[in-house]
Symmetry: C2
Subunit: 408 residues, 2 copies
Amino acid sequence: MALDFNIEKKINGKLGRAGILKTAHGEIETPAFVVVGTKATVKSLNPDQVKEAGTQVVLANTYHLYLQPGDEIVKKNGGLGKMMNWSGPTMTDSGGFQVFSLGAAYGKGISKVLQVTDPNLLIPERFDDSTAPKLVKIGQDGVSFTSHLDGSIHYITPEKSIQIQHNLGADMIFAFDECTSPNEDLKYQGEALDRTHNWAERSLREHLKLEKEDNKFPQYLFGIVQGGRDEQLRKKSAKIISEIEVDGNKFDGFGIGGSFAKEDMSTAVKWVNEILPEEKPRHLLGIGEPEDLFMGIENGVDLFDCVLPTRLGRNGTIYTKDGKIHITNAEYRADILPIENDCDCYTCKHYTKSYIAHLFRGNEMLAGTLASIHNVHFIVNLVKKIRESIFNDNFAEFKAQFLERYSK
Amino acid sequence: MALDFNIEKKINGKLGRAGILKTAHGEIETPAFVVVGTKATVKSLNPDQVKEAGTQVVLANTYHLYLQPGDEIVKKNGGLGKMMNWSGPTMTDSGGFQVFSLGAAYGKGISKVLQVTDPNLLIPERFDDSTAPKLVKIGQDGVSFTSHLDGSIHYITPEKSIQIQHNLGADMIFAFDECTSPNEDLKYQGEALDRTHNWAERSLREHLKLEKEDNKFPQYLFGIVQGGRDEQLRKKSAKIISEIEVDGNKFDGFGIGGSFAKEDMSTAVKWVNEILPEEKPRHLLGIGEPEDLFMGIENGVDLFDCVLPTRLGRNGTIYTKDGKIHITNAEYRADILPIENDCDCYTCKHYTKSYIAHLFRGNEMLAGTLASIHNVHFIVNLVKKIRESIFNDNFAEFKAQFLERYSK
């Protein structure tokens, strides 16, 4: 069954659009920000709080759930959504990004600009980089790696990734890919891309096979476009991933993966979205600062996910329309106003900056919860407002207005 | 204005009773378990979760709030309840217990059996115990101590404690007392008790003075009975604290403080409650295991507070009718049943043991939240069921039945 995605309105003269995406667990109004719940929990929030903040869809990480508690246990719990008590739409990534974060990023001084999913993740040496113990080995058939939790050895192929994701049972899942470092040379980028394309086809084949065996709601498979920072490779990848077909079936949507330098991200996204079929949804993986959301939406992205709202929240860094603030700064110690006067999130409706700052100073768990609620609400609702601006034909004005104040 | 407390039913032949206590922020059905929110937050829960678990009243710690964020800032935030977004009744202790936990308990091998409020609290040498830096000095007029947070020096008198508690603005507050170690000799116990009685009268005097100046809802002052493990001292204290009178005013209720050995707690509570005026509420400070709740209620206690439900919860130790379980035991790894099938708390209605165990293994904050919700619900509702048993004239049967299964 094909994924039901309707584009309702476009940005004049741009790739950007607003639409509705239908899953067995509800509709998603796009563009949408997908909130990350790495280990089947949005850090420091319960699902009611996630929902109340305006979240439409949650993404969990295949790599983490495969290792702990194990995909069979998630399946036994009724799947990801049921296990974590989230009744709305869900997604899982493919585990491919962890190949990257466990592998190529280490020791190359690039991890900080990239989409590292979990700050606690052990980032070991890449297999061919040093004489250190080799935790990750990328082959043509798949990837072997040693668990960062208990040292056990695992082997993930495209088929295995899809089997795990069928056990996890999210509404939207991703093909297994290799996410390369932008510092790799063009030759390696090309080889990795060939692997990603080969793995994409194998992922789709396995997905179709399991779909026939499954007796549950449909899961939709997204192919992932890679190609690093190279125009030719990005365009080649978008074309190949768009066209991959198994028994008359293509991907239901697309992920745009890889690491980007801030300055060339919009170019890379544009290259790709000019080629990807217009009628299917596109997810920009791991991206989510306000300026990136405007850029991505303008260039035809429908879905985003990012850990920043909760990670920053736990560290006391809070989004406001005037930029980010750090709540433990001395100026907020006796400030009895909410974070934002005109914000209708749970945190702003009920708590003062002074109290939240006190909770952070006291290392109280509610500190991270209240800050994360506001941050998730801020980012999710920013994307909702951008969506409205598309319908109101004033995307450009809203973007200019917002970013002028935000970046001041 | 006198505290409105009505006894509605008694346990036949015992001191125990069920009643209703009225505050400006709502009624409390007694006996009741008071949930502890040390730093103006019940650890790992938000106030909605605290309320949904059945909690009627929350107690915060004067010592902690005085040091951080400071009682003036709490006052600026509208007082304890408003600041923490808890609309129901509140209490604050007097800070006296911290004199004890900062002082006499250290180095005497007794701290573990006692009501230590905060596991992170630095417990320094007592001033006369060693040549180490002296953090606490108890005098006739008050107590000087060095903040465990920043080394600043503070001096708390009974007047100061009451001034702080008026700034914090809880519905029920406590007189400043000295909580002695049970290892102190009788001579010291007697001297400390005289101090406590003198401080009680000064606390009441200051309270009445501030009450006239205040322009807000009434606060009710409870006197604290001390006397350690000695029958004569306990009875003397109960009598004196009952009778203390300033300008025709007495205490609105009573706290029973001090450390007890498990085996003689019921005796001590009985000594005291046989003397305290029947018509006023009694609070057993810092006590709260199931067996203690039955004992206290049977012997005429109306209110209890204890950090155990949330502290145990954060450590993965969970109350069940069959005793406490540790959720990360291997047997729960694939257990897709709730903690208790017949429990209607948020945690048991929505989550499996398997998922909660996964959250603990992953160090996710939701782990402590879900376990604390169940534990608070368990203890608060145990006291509610005990209350029902009083009305149903089957306290003894319910006690026997519950403890037989719980202790098996």
